[in-house]
């Protein structure tokens, strides 16, 4: 056992102390941090507001003045800020969201509000001719032709037609709609004798903050994050398994190709060597996983959303990660021992990559109905079962405990079988050089050893 620990320690140190690993490990949190730190600054860089002249043909005579008010940059900014407030999730309203606070969003939208000059023209034909006249230096952007029944429509309201000059800023159309909507609602309200503020009050329905009720107490629910949780968990497991498995395969190939392996085999048995390497890379993966999970929990805690992650979910993540790593890591170590160089490993890796990718493809159907026969069956088919079960555990309808523990038992069985197979291949493959083996050869080696 001491020798296994010595091998594990070397494997861990040799992997963790490399520049590549450090960069890889820190890359994700650094990218996130950069997103939070630099993102707002990049996003705060104001895009140039739309600038130019818009003509309006208003047969009702009741829209133009209101449209001019609605087009004022202050009014546009006010409306946009209100929309931001109404759409952001409560928990994120006053903390960094995509790197920008609500105040920053308000400031930015004000600065980006279109600067439009409005002129009044008598009819559509004149307005179209005005739009086509390129001889003048002003920036002629569009013609708004208000329908005669846009304000007073007993049999239903009309709207407006919009004529655009070629190659105008694509934001103009949306901006004009927003302004016209504001102007028309105001004009129509006045026409029926309603105060605009009253109409707004009638139309406003505040979005509620849902509360999840549990025996341990209530906590705020965030359905959007809850939906993302299963994907986050399987991504974490995927990363954990791949970081360790890939490292295991690479280091085994390196030991074999540098011919240091036979020197090692003079001191330890092939099984001790494999066990030590598995343990060492497990520690590497565990560090990676702990870092990501830790950062994730801190972020959730700061957003007051920690209640979404049950402690048992993390326990199950750890259990399923260990057994899946043991299964796939052992197989990847065997592949590393069987081939002579990294290139040869690709074909043998295909089935393993498939086993890892398939559960991600199954995630959506499983989440749609976590208790379906499909989801239940997949939960017991190794090595996908761990991923499938993790999706179900973190879904809105977690499976019964007996199913979870049955999956654990099946996974442990699969891990033992994989370790048995891998140990056999490892023993034979380490000293085999020459033609790269295929799957049939590996099975032959396992039977031979």
């Amino acid at each position: 056992m001491t020798k296994i620990l010595h091998i594990a320690r070397r494997e861990f140190v040799a992997t963790v102390m490399t520049r590549g690993f450090m960069i890889g490990l820190l890359l994700m949190p650094v990218l996130l941090a950069l997103g939070f730190a630099v993102g707002p600054k990049l996003m705060a860089q104001q895009t140039k507001p739309v600038h130019g002249t818009v003509a309006v043909v208003d047969p009702t005579g009741e829209v133009t003045a209101r449209l001019r008010e609605a087009m004022a940059p202050d009014a546009v900014a006010r409306r946009r800020a209100a929309a931001v407030d109404a759409n952001l999730p409560t928990a994120l309203r006053d903390v960094g969201m995509a790197g920008a606070t609500t105040a920053q969003v308000r400031e930015r939208t004000a600065a980006e509000a279109p600067r439009l000059e409005l002129i009044d023209l008598s009819d559509v034909a004149t307005a179209r001719a005005w739009l086509l006249d390129r001889s003048v230096s002003d920036q002629r952007l569009a013609v708004i032709a208000v329908k005669p029944n846009a304000v007073r429509g007993n049999a239903g309201y009309g709207s407006y037609d919009l004529y655009l000059a070629p190659r105008v800023d694509p934001r103009l159309e949306g901006g004009v709609y927003d302004d016209m909507r504001e102007a028309l609602v105001a004009a129509r309200s006045a026409a029926v004798g309603l105060a605009r503020e009253r109409v707004d009050a009638v139309m406003t329905v505040a979005r509620p903050q849902a509360t999840t009720v549990t025996s341990a107490g209530d906590h705020q629910a965030d359905s959007q994050f809850a939906q993302a949780l299963p994907f986050i968990f399987i991504m974490l497991m995927f990363f954990g398994v791949m970081v360790g498995g890939q490292g295991l395969m690479t280091s085994t190939i390196e030991e074999k190709s540098s011919r240091v392996v036979e020197v090692l085999l003079s001191a330890v048995s092939p099984f001790e060597l494999m066990a030590g390497k598995l343990l060492g890379q497990l520690a590497v993966s565990a560090v990676t996983l702990a870092l990501y999970v830790g950062v994730g929990l801190v972020v959730l805690s700061s957003l007051a959303m920690i209640g979404l992650v049950q402690p048992m979910m993390v326990v199950y993540l750890v259990i399923f990660f260990v057994v899946t790593y043991a299964t796939l890591g052992a197989l990847m170590a065997a592949i590393g021992a069987a081939v002579n160089e990294m290139r040869e490993a690709q074909s043998l890796m295909t089935p393993i990559t498939l086993m890892i990718v398939l559960p991600a493809m199954f995630a959506t159907p499983i989440l749609r109905n976590p208790s379906s026969t499909f989801a239940t069956v997949i939960s017991f088919v190794p090595p996908m079962n761990a991923f499938a079960m993790l999706i179900r555990i973190t879904s809105s309808a977690p499976p019964p405990a007996w199913q979870i523990w049955l999956t654990v038992v099946v996974s442990v069985g699969a891990a033992l079988a994989a370790l048995w197979f891998a140990a056999k291949v490892f023993k034979v493959g380490l000293l085999m050089f020459g033609k790269p083996p295929n799957l049939t050869t590996l099975i032959k080696w396992a039977r031979m050893a």
Binding site: T2, K3, H6, I7, R10, A14, T18, E254, E255, S258, R259, V260, V261, E262, V263, L264, L265, S266, A267, V268, S269, L431
Partner: protein, 323 residues
């Protein structure tokens, strides 16, 4: 006393190829034993079986009194033919790691490594990465790794392979030093000269089978060539008259040297006196026994093999030795 190593009727096949066939071998404690044979004879397979890296299909192995080397790994030093180092690892860390795997506490291994660096002229390499060392230095580091735990049994597979003359000499001295310390040494080579210079006893293997297992002194006696190597003062001199001298059986030219084969009853000293009296002589000496001659003789007689082919696989050391 239990021998250091005993193989009893060991057989190993790979598919249809029989790599080792019914091999018996006994290496007494403290011996310096050579396993010789051409490339592909089964030497490496035999050594891997001894090391329990491979397992025999039949037969039994006893290493330092244990039925498998696995139980005695910490008392065995093994230098494989295909030997490498962790390229990115620092030399000191590599040696400490190997010592740990051999069960040597860090304080002991540290002292040994420092001494070994001093002795082998490896100054300031401890902090260098293995890939930064020259091949000769790497060989030295590998030998330190092999002996860091002061093994009772040292197994060296083609230790001189790929070495230049200086490194060959250095390694030979190290092997002899280990032997003086009391270690039993078994090494394989396809260069017979190395076995002649180092071994007490040799075992010859051909196509997986043992063809000879004898003390070098006994081989010298048994396979005494009973011939002289002769070089006349005048290269154009007529040598045909020498065959009429008493005690001379035949004369042949081999590699620009005239070899005079003597009859069984003729004493070499008398023959030398007669030849030098008969013909002005530049050089004459008793021919030295060469193990490759013995090997070729044995194998050719055994299987009617092609002697020149066997000789090509045996007697050409990769580098000439500086003495």
């Amino acid at each position: 006393m239990e021998p250091a190593l005993r193989l009893s009727s060991v057989t190993k096949t790979f598919g249809t190829m029989r790599a080792v066939e019914r091999l018996d071998l006994e290496v007494p404690r403290g011996a310096l034993y050579g396993v010789i044979g051409p490339n592909g004879a089964g030497k490496t397979t035999t050594i891997r079986i001894v090391m329990s890296i491979l397992f025999p299909d039949s037969g039994s192995v006893s290493v330092l009194g244990h039925p498998s080397a696995l139980a005695a790994k910490d008392r065995i030093g093994y230098l494989p033919e295909e030997r490498g180092l962790y390229r990115k690892m620092r030399v000191g860390d590599f040696l400490t790691y190997m010592a740990r795997l051999k069960g040597v506490p860090d304080n002991q291994s540290r002292a040994f490594i420092v001494q070994a660096f001093e002795r082998l002229d490896l100054h300031e390499v401890a902090d260098k990465r293995c890939e930064e060392l020259s091949k000769g230095m790497q060989q030295k580091v590998q030998f330190i790794a092999t002996t860091v735990h002061r093994p009772d049994l040292l197994i060296l597979d083609e230790p001189f392979s790929g070495l230049d003359p200086v490194s060959t000499r250095m390694l030979r001295d190290l092997i002899l030093e280990e032997h003086r310390r009391g270690a039993t040494i078994l090494f394989s080579t396809h260069v017979m000269m190395h076995a002649e210079q180092l071994c007490d006893r040799v075992v010859m293997i051909h196509k997986g089978r043992k063809v000879l297992d004898e003390a070098v002194a006994a081989i010298r006696h048994q396979y005494d060539p009973r011939s002289l190597e002769f070089e006349p003062l005048d290269p154009k001199a007529d040598l045909s008259g020498l065959t009429d001298l008493p005690g001379v059986e035949r004369i042949e030219s081999v590699d620009r040297v005239t070899r005079v084969t003597l009859t069984a009853e003729c004493a070499p000293g008398e023959a030398i006196a007669r030849i030098t009296a008969a013909l002005p002589t530049a050089r004459i000496e008793v021919a030295r026994l060469r193990l490759d001659d013995v090997f070729v003789q044995l194998v050719s007689a055994d299987a009617g093999g092609d002697a020149s082919e066997l000789r090509a696989g045996l007697s050409s050391p990769e580098v000439a030795e500086v003495r």
